[in-house]
Symmetry: C2
Subunit: 241 residues, 2 copies
DNA sequence: ACTTGCCCTGCCCCAAGGGCAGGGTTGAAC
DNA sequence: GTTCAACCCTGCCCTTGGGGCAGGGCAAGT
């Protein structure tokens, strides 16, 4: 008959763990020897190994306790569920690992294939790396929260910047302009015209939804400069929103 | 600017979780609106997504907080460590799943290949299923706790039962015999003789070690019948231990 | 007789939130 | 005008699976 410390070493578990299992009714308290020490037999070791197998699989101790009084049928069913749960958790961890690697590579999350070239274009056209990174994160947010509308919004945006004249205006003027520079009015007019051309008289996708995310993003972009804030207001007014 | 509930829904997390991240300094407290509600921007959402990616990878929140003030070098290094840790955890879970399936199949743990046929032989020779199961669990214990000596002990034991005469004695007599049946003496003599033959005058592997596990197992077996208890004592005496 | 290494119980502590109480806000419906 | 549901706020206690410590009792070698 071995002591609690020996049992703990054999099974690879702490003494405290065994005592907890006694307290919670997972493993019955064994008889004590003359000096009050717990004395264990081989059957206790076997029971403890079984308990650990389940506990390491993530089964709550209370559930393990209940399984002690389950029929064989219930027990097998429980084991099947635990197995499936384990499979799901392994899959989840692998997905997490994938996201982690995206994070390590500087990407917040994978984006649709068409966004990558657009971001590279931005860099090539002279937007600052800081700005490109912000754009990437914002698009992550849009694709994560509004997968249905994100693609349309993205094509709209990238189509706009595909026009070299508009692009040049963005690049040259908007960023470090005074808020009352008259060229902002010109820029706003050109953008409203281009937008009207794209959508005709129909509704404008950015403005019809009550969703907050596009507004949130516009706010973040606006926060970078008073000039952009005024530009946004002018465009909004020009489109009659 | 969105509220805490909207942010929580977008990122797929509970409101409480966000508040906890504020309390622990993971995510800075945003400004409040006129009625004291927290108001979040897109950058908060981006930061929260990053935090969740790490938290789901099992990184403690305190560590995530510290990473906020790490250099890029440290950050990349930390991500590599987390990735490796994740790989290890996935491997561990797969191993656990394997052990779980052994458990579902009625085995406590995988045993060396040679043990399986031996257990099947036991069943074929007429030992009760209950007894065979006990034997399997006991061997699991021996192989788990004394991998170095388990194989020798096992070959010794299985060799003994390979002798049909000895086997028959075990089977017919020992189990439901009175403790003072004279045939036990005969049986003990035959076993000591066979053991001496096997090992000559050298040391006997079962008895030399101070390890408790073999004694534990012998005790468990003895507990099943007074006759076996006496048989064990006779063998011990006969071998001069 | 001392020391070292076990063992005992009872207590408080941790992370990562969950849940509830008690109270204020907002917006829409009646 | 009020009432209702759906939000938000803070503060507090609860949970799981143990870890760790205090304060004390055995065991065994030297």
């Amino acid at each position: 008959m071995i002591t609690i410390g020996q049992l703990a070493r054999y099974v690879g578990v702490s003494i405290k763990t065994i005592r907890v299992y006694h307290d919670k009714g997972l493993l019955p308290e064994p008889d004590r020897d003359a000096s009050g020490y717990r004395r264990y037999g081989a059957n206790d070791a076997i029971a403890l190994i079984k308990i650990r197998t389940l506990a390491e699989a993530g089964v709550p101790l209370a559930r393990i306790r209940d399984l002690r009084s389950a029929t064989d049928e219930e027990y097998q069913q429980a084991l099947r569920e635990i197995d499936q749960d384990l499979t799901a958790r392994i899959r989840g961890l692998r997905a997490t690992q994938g996201r982690l690697r995206q994070l390590a590579a500087g990407h917040l999350a994978p984006l649709p294939a068409e966004v990558g070239p657009y971001l590279e274009d931005l860099a090539r056209w002279g937007f600052t790396p800081r700005w490109v990174d912000l754009q990437r994160d914002l698009w992550v947010l849009v694709f994560a929260t509004h997968p249905d509308r994100a693609t349309a919004l993205f094509r709209d945006q990238s189509g706009m910047l595909a026009d070299p004249a508009l692009r040049q205006l963005f690049l040259d003027h908007a960023h470090d302009l005074d808020a009352d520079d008259p060229r902002i009015d010109t820029l706003a007019r050109r953008i409203t015209e281009a937008t009207r051309q794209r959508y005709g008289a129909g509704e404008l996708p950015q403005l019809d939804a009550e969703s907050e995310i596009p507004a949130l993003i516009q706010g973040t972009v606006n926060a970078s400069s008073p000039a952009w804030r005024r530009l946004d207001a002018l465009i909004r007014a020009g489109l009659g929103a």
